[in-house]
Symmetry: C2
Subunit: 110 residues, 2 copies
């Protein structure tokens, strides 16, 4: 299954960059993208929206301040953040080294 | 957002039953279902497949023996299991009390 093994330990797949947050695809089809967003402390993801696609973030480890709709909220390991289609969302600031599992259906262009 | 709050702490949403594994919806649209599967030790989910839909399991806590395609594999907290469309998958046996985050795109009927 080229680059999308059926079993993956996510902490082992995470990659960090000193310059900006990173994105790693774990699985991609026409229906679903599952991937990781990896943040060093202080890194961000600008607020954006996906017209016609639903997204979630699940914090695997670490802690970050998310924006979703009108809200700003701190989320840590075990928290699920939902961004239904069209709802603006992003990461204002990672408060620790943070790994986030992300799902988007359908995926944006690669 | 009726029953699908934009921020959810998953461990607080988990519900267990002594009789069988439970399913809890966290978010549902025509494109994506995100939910929890909760297992007491020894509970199972029969092997099944979703034609035309991609699915993943992410083990939030606990440990279980999964079936995916031809493989049987043990997965614990932090492991992602992928079941692309048509690939048979299930949980042969939970080895501990286990919470699994599940995503299916598009969702099966409610």
């Amino acid at each position: 299954m080229d680059a999308q093994d059926l079993s993956q330990h996510l902490a082992a797949r995470a990659r960090f960059s000193m310059t900006k947050m990173t994105k790693i695809d774990c699985f991609r089809s026409m229906r679903l993208l599952v991937g990781l967003n990896c943040f060093e402390p202080g890194q961000e993801q600008k607020v954006h929206a996906h017209p016609g696609a639903d997204k979630f973030y699940f914090v695997v480890s670490g802690k970050a301040r998310f924006v979703v709709g009108e809200a700003t909220l701190e989320a840590a390991a075990g928290d699920l953040i939902l961004a239904p289609e069209g709802v603006p969302h992003g990461v204002e600031r990672a408060l620790e080294r943070t790994i986030v599992l992300v799902g988007i259906a359908p995926p944006p262009p690669a």
